[in-house]
């Protein structure tokens, strides 16, 4: 009987590094989702974070857009044509992949509209593609100011707030509830930089004093060393600006260290997704929500909540609404312009007011002309371990900042819109 002898299997440094390099190279390529071509539908492409640190929030944007497309098709679609949603994974931080997918959606799939992205840097990169390809893009959830500010384009609209709008809304509450000495923990990319500078600007007007701040790489797991530094600086409040899973890691560790007993832990943008992932004792702090599901007296919200709950088993989040409103904005613009041509749709959407069944909030949010930024309500309040509205009611609204109150002026946005001749 012969036995197979396995030779030379000892790992070597060279082999190990070669293999690791091959593995790293593989990580650069993402999976393709191939979708079938329909007869003559109007296609809306959504290029959003479906893997990585923003996967959960990215998926919620896709779910919102999916519901919107279903509703459109029930009401005759866009210009009488059926609507199809084509989904692509942009990854959570790779601008190259996001751009490649945006080009694929427009060139290969023939999408007339582009939606996305959770990540601000990826949103900016996609906006450049949309501008080059002359297609309408409705940015769902990338908050950095430049998208509808210094780098605005006539054909790029945005649903979520700018970081400056969020900062303007939450800064007075932070000063009032937490104090004037602030230490920032900020994600090291476009969104974090502009949110911090927005807070410094808005807080500065109210007497805020910055005692320090750290930029943390996206996807940081261990925040203990930053928290040690922050606590040593003696702030009134540690302003936590990291998002998604990073926010969960940071808040969870801060509360385990008992820091909430020494300083305030708060921030600006907060969302339902991270609050759901936190243990109850870490659901604390003053924050701003851009949309919240528990609005008992606002028309159409109940139906929207029920439709999303039927799809996912969960309440909608701000992200679900971003995707929903962004997809509807494409249809509303095209139907108003009677065309899917980017220039015509863009002109039709100037100062366009969202109807109540899409707005899902009190007041009348609208796309500000000359900037293409939606000017909505904002909800300032504090996180709670468990509210009266069920296990997903984790935010207590202290104040609704009404349409326009925290939006700043068009000049302040630094958008200088160039229209094609």
């Amino acid at each position: 009987m012969t036995k197979k002898v396995e030779l030379d299997l000892s790992p070597t440094r060279r082999r190990f590094i070669k293999a690791a390099a091959a593995g790293a190279a593989l990580q650069m390529t993402g999976p393709f989702l191939i979708s079938a071509r329909g007869e003559q539908p109007v296609k809306i492409g959504i290029d959003d974070c479906l893997t990585g640190t923003y996967a959960a929030v990215g998926k919620n944007e896709v779910i919102g857009a999916t519901l919107a497309v279903e509703q459109m098709n029930k009401k005759g679609g866009i210009l009488g044509r059926p609507v199809e949603l084509v989904t692509e994974d942009s990854t959570s931080g790779d601008a190259g992949t996001a751009v490649q997918k945006a080009r694929k959606l427009i060139d290969r799939d023939g999408c007339d509209f582009l939606l996305g992205n959770v990540n601000s840097a990826l949103t900016l990169a996609m906006a450049d593609v949309a501008y080059e390809k002359k297609k309408i893009m409705v940015a769902t959830g990338g908050h950095t100011d430049a998208v509808t500010g210094a780098k605005c384009h006539y054909n790029v609209f945005r649903i979520c707030n700018t970081t400056q709008m969020e900062a303007n809304a939450v800064a007075p509450a932070l000063i009032k509830n937490a104090g004037k000495k602030w230490y920032f923990i900020t994600p090291d990319y476009a969104f974090g930089h502009t949110l911090q500078s927005g807070l410094e600007k808005a807080g500065g007007k109210l007497g805020m004093q910055k005692v320090g701040g750290d930029l943390t790489p996206l996807g940081t797991t261990d925040f203990s060393s930053y928290l040690i530094k922050a606590q040593a600086a003696g702030p009134d409040v540690i302003v936590i600006l990291v998002q998604g899973d990073d926010m969960i890691n940071c808040l969870k560790q801060a509360v385990q260290f008992g820091l909430e007993k020494k300083v305030h832990l708060a921030g600006a943008q907060q969302e339902l997704e991270p609050l759901l992932g936190l243990p109850p004792e870490a659901r604390i702090g003053t924050w701003v929500f851009e949309w919240y599901w528990n609005q008992p007296n606002v028309p159409h919200v109940k139906e929207f909540n029920a439709a999303i709950k039927a799809k996912t088993g969960h309440m909608p989040t701000a992200r679900t609404w971003f995707g929903f409103a962004a997809a509807h904005a494409c249809a509303l613009g095209a139907n108003a312009a009677k065309s899917v041509d980017a220039l015509k749709v863009a002109k039709a959407l100037q100062n366009f007011k969202l109807p109540p069944e899409v707005a899902l909030m009190p007041g009348v949010p609208y796309f500000r002309a000359g900037q293409n930024q939606l000017i909505p309500n904002q909800w300032v309040g504090h996180a709670i371990a468990k509210g009266s509205g069920g296990p997903e009611d984790l935010f207590h609204v202290d104040e609704v900042v009404k349409v326009g109150e925290a939006a700043g002026t068009l000049e302040e946005s630094e958008c200088k819109m160039q229209w094609p001749s």
Partner: protein, 289 residues
């Protein structure tokens, strides 16, 4: 500043101990079987999620004991079905397989438990800091370091005092001769893989207590573990432990002076070690070609 620096050195040791726990499992598998297990992070996530599922029924301590064992059993099955047929081929094959397996495990976790982070609570008395000044020394973190210590000690006892351990060590040096001497190499590799995955499962439960629990929890932790192995020296378990501690401290100290480079510093260290001492700090010379 000096106090912040000192705190961060201590804190870095705690974080490093955790990296070491994960890296030790990787290192065990790599040393004996030559498999670069990219799916280690996936098993870590499975361990964490199994603990999350068990938590309401058996409590934190029960989950801490049972979840890593269940993860190890899954590891044994994966080795038997998927990895065993690839022994004897270029390590690239097993790397590609485990790379794919990592995605499969991540998606399985996502399918069963959802993409959304889930709240994983630990007993409240464990989260209490020992003193107001040394607030980063919580009961949980000290417990974690103790557990890493116990796991490392247990591993060294197994490797040095038991027949299985002696065979694993002998196999690491010369698998062919061990095989010729009548040792069932297949079972040896299987048990060794299970032991490595047990450590991944244990690291998973501990990580879920500190971090948000979502399907990608292992992905973010696997690279520091690879770096720990390279810095410490391929083939050396004490080296892996040292590598883990060193990168933890280096990250902590970098936070004080240049916070946005806390991750990059690990890779700079790795580059320096490869340039100056390619076999790693405690690596065995014979393993470098």
């Amino acid at each position: 500043m000096s106090q912040v620096l000192l705190f961060n050195v201590f804190n870095g040791l705690i974080v490093g101990a955790f990296y070491a726990l994960m890296a030790l499992g990787l290192s065990l598998i790599l040393n004996l079987s030559g498999v670069i297990n990219f799916a280690h992070g996936g098993f870590l996530a499975l361990g964490a999620y199994l603990a999350y599922t068990l938590l309401p029924h058996v409590g934190f301590w029960g989950a801490l004991i049972i979840a890593p064992v269940l993860t190890a059993i899954l590891g044994l099955i994966a080795e038997r079905i998927l990895i065993r047929p690839l022994y004897g081929r270029d390590p690239l094959y097993s790397l590609l397989l485990t790379f794919g397996l990592a995605y499969v495990l991540e998606d399985v976790s996502r399918y069963i438990w959802g993409a959304q982070s889930v709240p994983f609570s630990i007993p409240s008395w464990l989260t209490t800091p020992l003193s107001s000044q040394f607030f980063f020394l919580t009961g949980y973190r000290i417990f974690m370091v103790l557990l890493v210590g116990i796991a490392v000690a247990g591993l060294f006892i197994i490797l040095n005092k038991t027949r299985l351990g002696m065979r694993i060590r002998a196999g690491t040096l010369d698998l062919e001769t061990v095989s010729v001497l009548g040792v069932n190499v297949r079972i040896l590799r299987n048990l060794n893989f299970g032991l490595g995955i047990y450590l991944a499962g244990l690291a998973g439960v501990l990580a879920a207590g500190m971090l948000g629990l979502q399907p990608t929890i292992g992905t973010s932790l696997i690279m520091p573990s690879f770096v720990a192995i390279i810095v410490g020296g391929l083939g050396s378990l004490p080296g892996t432990l040292l590598g883990g501690l060193l990168i933890g401290v280096a990250s902590g100290v970098t936070t004080v002076y240049f916070p946005s480079a806390t991750e990059a510093v690990m890779y700079v260290m790795m580059g320096l070690v490869l340039l100056v001492r390619p076999r790693g700090l405690l690596g065995e010379e014979g393993r470098v070609q």
